[in-house]
């Protein structure tokens, strides 16, 4: 496998749902240690794109490389095995289950001989406590329900889980959209940490400021097409905002209201 190849490289990805053209030629590249922000308004095709990357949808046409190798995922499990982990906004954690049970959900380590095989919960608790400590969430009791954690903490646990289980690329679907200011900065800080570990991150957001805070590159989608990809040095935050809104209208409204939207 080519070590210098981008983690994810897609070229001219097209996805049709019957007569609806959801993606009509999207290109995106994510490298190691890079946060690529995926920006776009509602209906721009963000969800379809990430679901295609996560193995939920199969592309109609286009090229899809993971570390230089062409891939065709049949299921989310395939994508996971290839090291692409997706953290969905609300659909990551089960509030009534303990932190440990959530952390190892679907990947429980077992010991013993069948039919007496059971989950090694002592080991699970220890790992959970350790991993939580690393990201600065002090879980004294890994048996506490995830529902007792704040929204930001839940996102961080979901990300930590993906990282622990060997993800190379993290797809974060609007991780900050339901969070307050302090919670958001907690998540953004953690995204920065993940990048420093050498993982690639695809950060989907509506919020240009959140994107600009951690992003290395920005890909703007509009009506199923890539409008452009920009490095952080190439673009200013208000230009990005305008691009995302798809024109100058927002600027006009903003000036009318006497501030930034």
């Amino acid at each position: 496998m080519d070590k210098d190849a981008p983690l994810i490289d897609i070229r001219n990805l097209v996805k049709h749902f019957g007569s609806v053209i959801a993606l009509s030629g999207v290109s995106l590249t994510v490298r190691r240690g890079e946060v690529m922000c995926l920006l776009g308004d509602n209906g721009a095709g963000k969800s379809t794109l990430i679901k295609t990357l996560a193995g939920v949808h199969r592309p109609t046409s286009g090229e899809f490389f993971v570390e230089g190798q062409p891939v065709a995922f049949a299921s989310p499990r395939d994508a996971l095995d290839a090291g692409i982990a997706t953290v969905y906004q609300d659909l990551a954690m089960i509030p009534l289950m303990s932190v440990t049970r959530n952390f190892f959900m679907g990947r429980e380590p077992v010991k013993g001989i069948w039919p007496f095989r059971n989950v090694d919960f002592d080991h699970c608790d220890e790992v959970t406590r350790e991993e939580m400590h690393k990201i600065g969430i002090d879980v004294r009791d890994p048996h506490q329900a995830v529902g007792t954690l704040s929204g930001g903490e839940r996102q961080c646990v979901a990300i930590a889980r993906a990282v622990y289980f060997g993800a190379k690329v993290l797809i974060l679907d609007e991780p900050t959209s339901a969070l307050g200011v302090a919670q958001t900065s907690m998540v953004l800080k953690y995204i920065h940490q993940v990048r420093q570990k050498g993982l690639g991150v695809i950060f989907i957001t509506h919020n240009v400021r959140h994107a600009y805070a951690v992003g290395d590159g920005f890909t703007v989608l509009n009506r199923g097409k890539t409008l452009g990809t920009y490095r952080k040095s190439e673009i200013q935050i208000d230009e990005l905002q305008n691009l995302m809104a798809g024109g100058k209208e927002l600027q006009a409204v903003s000036e009318e209201l006497g501030g930034m939207v």
Partner: protein, 380 residues
């Protein structure tokens, strides 16, 4: 240029927030740990009910014979309730289990009397029929995405009707099938599904004057009815499965949030189908136990047992919305049931108070469970 400094300004409060949160963390008290157990309500209820009967009922209720009297109906209901609890934790209902008891009773009776099969084969075949029906229930719920409430409500009537029609067809017009016990034969398999267990222990205890005995030396209680043994073994196995195994974690996950579970690689559909099959097999087990015990079967077997099983599961701490509950709680719930239904005959109260009690207990359990869940999960 203002915009580029935005990130640092945004990130600054993070450290401050974290120290505050560290201070807000509490030590986990013993009380919280106990409160976190879903079966707490059922256990407390059992203690209350026991105290009530100790102070009002005839002393004979709490003799060995009296306790066996209570546990026998509790065991039959309990086997259903534990399976219903697992299914409820997995996020689904099965309203057809009562009718399933009647239908699998008929199937079992037919295998013995009409086909003349040996007992072991008849039992295996009955369980297989139940598993297929349960699987059908499960697949229908999963494929149509209809609420399991509706799909299994349909099966409640279908199976009850089939039991009636089938019995009349098999017996030539009667809704009762007799003579199953005589044709089932004796042997080890029979002993596993009918009669009493631990007879040796009970004779020994009687001989040493630990338990009551008749003048001729045989103990007044000859052993533990086999259904009680099945009940206890099933409760322990289900609890282990739920709390210590991978399948248990998947059951909680499937019921807590099926989408989140799927995204994490849990085979939700397989888990749910297996649970429907397990519930149906539990109903078949109850049918086999009761048919061999009575020697006959009739179309009213298991009537309204689906509701009683769900009530026992809810008293045991299961949430109607799934993802939370316990098997051992359902075990206690079923014992409360047995204790009240039998216990009232030991008191001066009219035993028809049972239904009033049942409703009140259910209401109390739901309120209590809701309160506990809010406490535990920090939900507001």
């Amino acid at each position: 240029m203002v915009n580029t400094t935005q990130p640092t300004a945004d990130l600054a409060p993070a450290t401050a927030v974290k120290t505050i949160q560290d201070e807000r963390l509490r030590e986990v008290s013993l009380l919280t740990k106990i409160m976190r157990r879903p079966e707490l309500g059922a256990l407390a209820g059992l203690v209350l009910v026991t105290i009530f009967f100790l102070s009002t009922a005839d002393a004979s209720m709490f003799t060995l014979a009296g306790i066996m009297n209570i546990l026998s109906p509790a065991a039959q209901l309990g086997i259903l309730a534990i399976a219903a609890a697992l299914l409820m934790i997995g996020g689904e209902f099965d309203l057809s289990i009562g009718s399933m008891v009647a239908f699998t009773g008929l199937v079992f009776g037919a295998f013995i009397t009409l086909s003349g099969w040996p007992l072991l084969l008849a039992i295996a075949a009955t369980l297989a029929v139940a598993a297929v029906l349960g699987g059908l229930n499960g697949q229908m719920v999963i494929r149509t995405r209809l609420p399991s409430f509706i799909v299994t409500l349909a099966f409640l009537f279908i199976l009850r009707g089939l039991s009636l029609v089938g019995l009349k067809w098999a017996t030539g017009g009667s809704t009762q099938m007799r003579g199953i016990g005589d044709q089932a034969g004796d042997g080890l398999v029979r002993e596993l599904f009918s009669g009493v267990a631990f007879e040796g222990v009970f004779s020994w205890l009687a001989a040493h004057d630990v338990i009551a005995k008749f003048p001729n030396g045989t103990p007044t209680v000859t052993g533990v009815p086999i259904s009680i043994v099945w009940f206890v073994v099933f409760a322990l196995t289900a609890t282990w499965l739920l709390l210590r195994t991978r399948a248990g974690n998947w059951i909680f996950a499937a019921g807590g949030d099926a989408n989140a579970a799927r995204n994490s690689g849990v085979p939700v559909d397989r888990v749910k189908t297996s649970l429907f099959m397990l519930t149906a097999c539990a109903a078949a087990l109850v049918a086999i136990l009761t048919v061999l015990d009575a020697g006959s079967t009739d179309a009213r077997r298991g009537f309204q047992k689906e509701f009683e099983a769900i009530i026992a599961a809810v008293i045991g701490g299961c949430l109607l919305t799934g993802g939370y509950g316990s098997a051992i709680g359902a075990f206690f719930g079923a014992i409360i049931f047995g204790m009240v239904s039998i216990g009232l005959t030991y008191t001066r109260f009219d035993s028809d108070w049972f239904q009033v009690f049942l409703g009140a207990m259910l209401l109390l359990a739901v309120l209590f469970n809701n309160f506990i869940r809010r406490k535990v999960t920090g939900e507001r």
